[in-house]
Symmetry: C2
Subunit: 626 residues, 2 copies
């Protein structure tokens, strides 16, 4: 294990064409309108311990987590953009949770006001520990942003109480969350507070999962239910079908799986547990080699909000919950810190540029919960959801997206992603600022300039993206011979660096046709268009053909890239000549033996992430190739 | 309206290679094992009026209909193959129903033994009238087979009682069945008994459907339910969303729709109601031009066991319930009698040779409920179903399949389908026997020889199948010039016929590549293989490739037909050269930019109807064409 440390987003400035506008929209539009939705829907009012059923129409059992994600995002925003009004709003919500907290430390609006007698009686379904986790993440963010301890102390009292309830010791419940989340939150809490019991509790939750006798059966019987009625597959949905170290296949609910795998990587890192790392690697191969959409989406099926089977990648019915893509990014970010291997950064980047940010409109006020790879024209972003996990999740991801760009270690500075702006790193005891000039992801060129107080020897590790096959690099104007200097996808430049040293990367990004493994039946004979890290799609707005699958791309067609500053906030669009099966209004029968007539058609593809930002219509990622 | 009369199956003998073996298996295997299943599962015991809940594990609300379909099939079998043991078994079941019948005429095991207080309280969901209809069909079949009236009289008392309960008259319930069926059964009952009230009652059920105030809302309120909670789309599932004459789109549960449309055609025929014929024609266009699978299957979705939207024809998830394909055949058979138009016979034949008989194994003891057009290898026929409508339905269809071959009218003899054997027709007052010699559907040649007591002038109408584009016909050895003699797909030969007159049809059946309307997105760029009326598929048993969709058919490939007497009971198999995307075990990543490598592969296709009769494996109807 290499144990890189991600550079906090507070030490990363993005002034680029891609992320910076989104971050601004996130701060100025998404954050305030999400608070409005929390208010309008009763989620804020519901924190009141005096609340009684009937005060609002439906008190959702995990509404606390929606509020917590907003709090976490608000804290991230305050960390980079102080805003007294937002801070006051946040403190007000914190005060409500303080009032909600029971004398034993417990914080949960549903099980305080609505069903107090059912506390901890159904960990499998009731999301109590999940909500607790999100509160902890919010509190850590708040503490780091403001330096104030009151929220942190509040959740520590809750964590202490949880620690007194759960564990292997005599008299404790041997339970663990039905929806994972608290594990990774507890690791954050331990790192913020230094209280090792929180790490131990996280480790307990990870280790206990899936052991026999199965806790969910035990608690079900305690509730008077017969767990056998749910059948032998009942544990897979929440990844409790076996102890985590024995798990080799991604199963069940995709978001839960990602949060669990994050926690496994976190606990592995903090405890040095190689068996957990090995399990993560096996699961990573299963996810990324068998279940990953080209957009970075995961979770093929809506019926379980999760995984189906290897190489099953339906397009129209792809679930690809925004939260799951975010979870995948968070997990790969952790794996990257463990290994310093660009394959994790490649997946992280795939998710960041495509299947995560598709979850929010360019206007910042509409959201996808589900991110399919094809649409008949009836799938559109919504203002909010009854189950509103995704809007808050994409918002907190964007507010902290800087964290994914750089890592630091004793002897190395790592650059994982490219964007105009700068990162302020500490390599050992040396302050190193890396300034990037680039139009990435639209342009191949990245200029990096180092700034140091005094010359220093360390390794600068520059990721050469997996999609890039002909990278070239100059150092202070001299071409670098990359042979022998590449390690796990990173160009490792070890030398004595001084201020003003300049590296120029050329990462040529031709328009590429991507094919899936032939084992993916849905993609046989099809291609997706990708340029750099950006995956493209056809939208009906540019390609008025119904159905879009009438369009096929000849192998010989050239595909051209052109930056259009006026389109969709400024994107590179791809155009090319395709063939479209002619519609035949004279055709009467559903079936006949005539060969289909085609005609040439100029197609235009736009980045998948920005689809459904214009007039509603069909969308298609995978095109037939002829 | 032309009002042909279908020639009863008792006057049609099949001695052919395709149907005769299936009919024998149906009689010798399917009929006895179905009785066994009815016994084993408690369906027979459940007819007992003394039955009380708890006597068996689950009394299904429409089990009576499963028993009735077996009774109907048994009666058909007795009509052509007398069997004292079977007759005794049938009489025993009839006696049980006689004991079940209440003094007012009511016959229903569930609402007699289990919930007597709920009789007629939920027509929408409870299938009482549906079960009644199947009993009537069985009784008519029994009467026609045996000449005995006791079963017929029993259901007449039931019909009389139903007639006293339902109708527009003061004091009657203005209800109609949630699952259509009794309407067409009442028409059969009127034709068997001459009692016009039964036809009037059928017409009432057809006419009342979908009127306002909506009966299902009225009865729901009577049960204390709020019908609005089910939303505005609540009527579509059972086609009660508007009066039937206003319906233009096939919606909801496919079997229900087919039985309704059958009844509409029946009532139209018996009453001369052209508005019902017009509605049937509009619905037929919607079904056949927008919803029909190439196999003759209908009902795209399992979620409603029914229709989705026009041109939506998913393959793996196609529901295509066996009963729905049977219903489509029954409806088209009725439309054919009304119009003498071969387009109805074409759909009927498509269903008969493909999507209906796929519902039963060649061994006669395993059944498909669902008939998808592609399978990953996990879809197999079962011995029986908890909801067991399909096995009994395919069995009664096969036992009476002779009914689909010929029609008669005052001045014409009609041949709709071809098979070795003979039909004994009455054209006006003339007995005309038509003997066929042919290996149809495997061979293009059909020889028909007429047998008459004395020369007679009438029209012989021979269907030239819609799939056949180069038919030729000789009459007593002389080529017939078909120009000007074709009418709605039938060759009309009007002359004075005499015994020994011989017609030879040549219906060339090259292997054809069939394409769907480009509006069918799932079939863009794909072809299906068809020869004559038989639709083909690839099975893994012959084509060991995973997934099968790696196979693509070059446009230039020749496809060859060869009869294999030892395969699957004797079928024509199709072979040809295809290209298969190479599997690449060295491939690690899910996505890359390499062009897929293909290699030639000889493929073998077998008739869709007989798939899943060998080792379990994948199946695919629509092939990519390159």
């Amino acid at each position: 294990m290499m144990n890189l440390t991600a550079v906090d987003f507070t030490r990363v400035t993005l002034r680029d064409c891609f992320w910076a506008p989104r971050l601004e929209t996130n701060r100025k539009v998404t954050l305030p309108i999400q608070y409005e939705h929390l208010q309008k829907t009763g989620r804020i009012a519901g924190i009141d311990p005096e609340y009684k059923p009937g005060d609002r129409t439906a008190h959702h059992i995990f509404w606390d987590s929606d509020v917590a994600k907003w709090m976490e995002t608000a804290a991230y925003s305050l960390a980079t953009h102080p805003d007294p009004q937002l801070e006051a709003q946040l403190e007000e919500v914190i005060a409500k949770f303080a009032k909600l907290q029971r004398s034993d430390g417990y914080i949960n609006s549903w099980f305080t006001a609505v069903e107090p007698e059912k506390r901890w009686t159904n960990l499998r379904d009731c999301h109590e520990l999940y909500c607790a986790g999100h509160l902890m993440e919010a509190a850590v963010a708040h503490f780091k942003a403001t330096g104030k301890r009151h929220f942190l102390d509040m959740v520590c009292r809750y964590a202490d109480y949880i620690d007194s309830v759960f564990g292997t010791e005599e008299g404790k419940l041997r339970g663990y969350p039905g929806h994972e989340e608290i594990e990774l939150a507890l690791v954050k809490l331990w790192k913020a507070t230094g209280e090792r019991r929180y790490l131990n509790l996280a480790k307990y939750f990870v280790d206990e999962r899936g052991r026999q006798p199965h806790y969910y059966d035990v608690e079900a019987r305690r509730r008077g239910e017969d767990p056998e009625k749910r059948g032998p597959g009942r544990y897979r949905q929440n990844q409790s079908h076996m102890p985590v170290r024995e798990q080799t296949e991604a199963v069940g609910h995709a978001v839960r799986a990602m949060y669990l795998y994050c926690a496994m990587a976190d606990v592995a890192r903090e405890t040095g547990d190689r068996s957990l790392v090995a399990a993560c690697e096996t699961l990573w191969e299963d996810v990324c080699l068998g279940h990953l959409y080209i957009t970075g989406g995961i979770g093929q099926s809506g019926s379980n909000e999760g995984f189906t089977f290897r190489y099953d990648l339906p397009e129209e019915t792809a679930y690809c919950e925004t939260c799951a893509a975010i979870g995948l990014v968070l997990w790969n970010h952790r794996m990257l810190q463990l290994h310093g291997d660009a394959r994790f950064a490649d997946v992280m980047e795939r998710g960041l540029f495509n299947g995560t940010i598709s979850g929010v409109s360019l206007s910042g006020d509409r959201f996808f919960y589900v991110n399919p790879l094809a649409s008949l024209g009836n799938h559109h972003r919504q203002e909010w959801f009854r189950c509103a996990c995704c809007p808050g999740n994409i918002s907190r991801l964007l507010a902290s997206v800087g964290q994914f760009f750089y890592s630091e270690s004793e002897e190395s500075a790592w650059v994982h992603m490219y964007a105009e702006g700068e990162g302020r790193l500490r390599v050992g005891d040396r302050e190193v600022t890396i300034r990037q000039q680039t139009k990435y992801p639209w342009d191949a060129h990245v200029r990096l300039e180092l700034n140091l107080a005094r010359p220093a020897t360390f390794t600068l590790a520059l990721r050469i993206p997996g999609w890039c096959r002909q990278a070239s690099v100059t150092l202070n104007g001299t071409l670098v011979s990359m042979a022998g200097m590449m390690e796990k996808g990173y160009l490792k430049l070890n030398r004595q660096w001084q201020s003003g040293d300049t590296i120029e990367l050329c990462l040529p990004m031709p328009v590429e046709r991507v094919r899936a493994n032939p084992a993916v039946r849905q993609a046989n004979g099809k291609v997706a268009i990708q340029r750099g890290p950006v995956v493209y799609c056809l939208e009906e707005a540019d390609n008025p053909v119904t159905p879009l699958s009438r369009i096929a791309l000849p192998r010989s067609s050239a595909l051209n890239a052109r930056y259009d500053r006026d389109l969709l906030g400024g994107v590179v669009v791809i155009t090319g000549e395709a063939e479209v099966i002619k519609a035949d209004p004279s055709r009467k029968w559903l079936y006949d033996t005539r060969a289909p007539q085609t005609e040439p058609m100029r197609i235009t593809a736009v980045p998948y992430a920005v689809w459904d930002n214009r007039e509603p219509g069909q969308m298609l990622v995978w095109l037939r190739e002829i």
